[in-house]
């Protein structure tokens, strides 16, 4: 019989990591990531998990420890949020460059200043260009499933890159949900032992990330890009394997929800998508042809799935829980980049939504759909990103 329990999202993640039999865990606590690493520390201290738990003095060190451990051939894991993820940034570029396949939970939280501990995606989006694969989840169950998949994706010989599972702080980490757990034997069959081709060995010394001049540097960078873009088929395969193992189908790199005949398609990532689905259902009852495309795998970006989902749509409204200051939201820019120049393609409008925990509810979604339809009907070119529910009266 399946092991089903109501657990906190953080506990579900810790149990997934435990099931993956990591050798090394290194982490520095930061809200709202703390419960995950506390749970893992407890498991190690209680002897329930045979792993080296390294308490470090900063997130820079946490990322460095898991990089080194990964180079030594250990399955390694860390987690952080917000400022902590930013402090890892330099190391993460190097880790991806050295093709070290560890797993990070990126617990989404706003970036200071001003200080705020609530959810948005600015932190993990800031790591968009590191070469770390990013998966965004909507529920605790999906967080559990995707951490199992993350190790397998990271360690796939054709990929060999760090994988970050991004989950919304508080909303997912601190909520209690029904979660189905796999038994250890099933996880072991799904995720064999980590045996990298190269590992640190004093008997056979090697160096990682050695010097590269301009004559080959581009090729090294392109190799990472290629591992990502060509890795999409491998990720799809691993997602499908997860589905046959769990019976849960999240749709692969994206989840297309009622997009089939949709004229207006919303795009969102993370827990916000749950709200959007409910709003889509209500709008559908009212006869509006609305759907949601939830991006699950953000890097590599699922262009193929995007193009398939928006075929036939008039307008695509992106809900971006991040902003590139002076430009628009990151997801909106990605969506636009691939649709550019396609005759008959939909109009894409970007909305900056939910920064610092600003609520995005069904009323917000309805307003977005109305606005998108009006902008489309006006016949004017799409405007710059609009900031949802902004209160201009208090802006200096």
């Amino acid at each position: 019989m399946a092991d089903v329990r109501v657990v906190e999202g953080s506990e579900a993640v810790a149990l997934a990591v435990k099931a993956c039999r990591p050798h090394v865990i290194a982490a520095y606590p930061i809200s709202p990531q703390t419960h995950i690493v506390e749970a893992l520390a407890r498991m190690v201290a209680d002897g329930d998990l045979k792993a080296e738990y390294v308490r470090v003095e900063s997130e820079f060190s946490a990322a460095s420890v898991v990089s080194g451990a990964s180079a030594a051939g250990s399955r390694s894991y860390t987690a952080s949020a917000s400022q902590g993820l930013l402090l890892m940034t330099e190391v993460l570029y190097a880790s991806a460059g050295m093709r070290l396949p560890f797993v990070i939970t990126g617990v989404n939280r706003s970036i200071s200043a001003p200080i705020n501990i609530q959810v948005d995606h600015q932190d993990t989006i800031s790591l968009r260009d590191t070469g770390v694969i990013q998966l965004y989840v909507e529920s605790a169950q999906e967080a559990y499933d995707m951490h199992l998949a993350a190790f397998k994706i990271a360690e796939a010989p054709s990929i060999m890159l760090p994988v970050m599972v991004c989950m919304d702080g508080w909303v997912l980490t601190h909520s209690y949900e029904r979660v189905e757990f796999l038994d250890q034997k099933a996880v072991d069959r799904f995720l064999p032992l980590f045996r990298p081709e190269n590992y640190l060995d004093t008997a056979n010394p090697k160096t990682w990330g050695s010097y590269a001049e301009g004559d080959v540097l581009m090729e090294f960078k392109y190799a990472i890009h290629k591992a990502m873009s060509e890795g999409k088929s491998c990720i799809r395969k691993i997602m499908a394997e997860m589905t046959s193992l769990t019976g849960r189908d999240y749709g692969g790199l994206v989840e297309a929800y009622r997009t089939g005949d949709a004229e207006v398609i919303l795009v969102a990532m993370g827990s916000m998508a749950g709200t959007v689905k409910d709003a889509v259902d209500v709008l559908r009852q009212e006869g509006k042809k609305v759907g949601l495309l939830r991006i699950r795998c953000y890097r590599p970006f699922p262009y193929e799935e995007l193009l398939a989902a928006v075929r036939g749509a008039k307008v695509v409204a992106v809900l971006d829980a991040n902003v590139s200051m002076g430009s628009e939201g990151a997801v909106g820019l990605d969506v636009k980049s691939r649709l550019n120049g396609r005759p008959g393609g939909p109009m894409v409008i970007d909305f900056i939504a939910g920064l610092g925990g600003r609520e995005v509810n069904s009323t917000t979604v309805r307003a977005v759909v109305d606005r998108a339809e009006r902008l489309f009907s006006s016949g004017a070119p799409p405007p710059e990103a609009e900031w949802l529910d902004l209160n201009p009266a208090i802006v200096p």
Partner: protein, 85 residues
């Protein structure tokens, strides 16, 4: 030759690159004053000090002339001299 994922290569390849020509000052050890303590060898960031029989020698193929050895030498037996090229 193909590049390797992660730029992983066998170790020790820096020996192929003689970086001593970056130097604009060269350390010179005065054998008379040297007490054979070996501090210069320990502190050298380029591993460019070798113990040869009863004395220490600088490997000028790799010494970049940073001067740490001269600074740390307790016997003041190492002097930095301008390179003339």
């Amino acid at each position: 030759m193909k590049i390797t994922p992660g730029a992983v290569v066998k170790g020790g390849t820096s020996l192929n690159y003689k970086t001593g020509n970056w130097r604009d000052q060269r350390p010179e050890i005065d054998a008379e004053s040297c007490k054979q303590c070996g501090i210069c060898q320990e502190v050298c960031p380029d591993d460019a000090v070798r113990q040869v029989a009863d004395r220490y020698e600088i490997d000028y193929d790799f010494c970049k002339g940073c001067g740490i050895c001269a600074h740390e030498c307790t016997a003041e037996a190492i002097r930095m001299k301008n390179e003339e090229k």
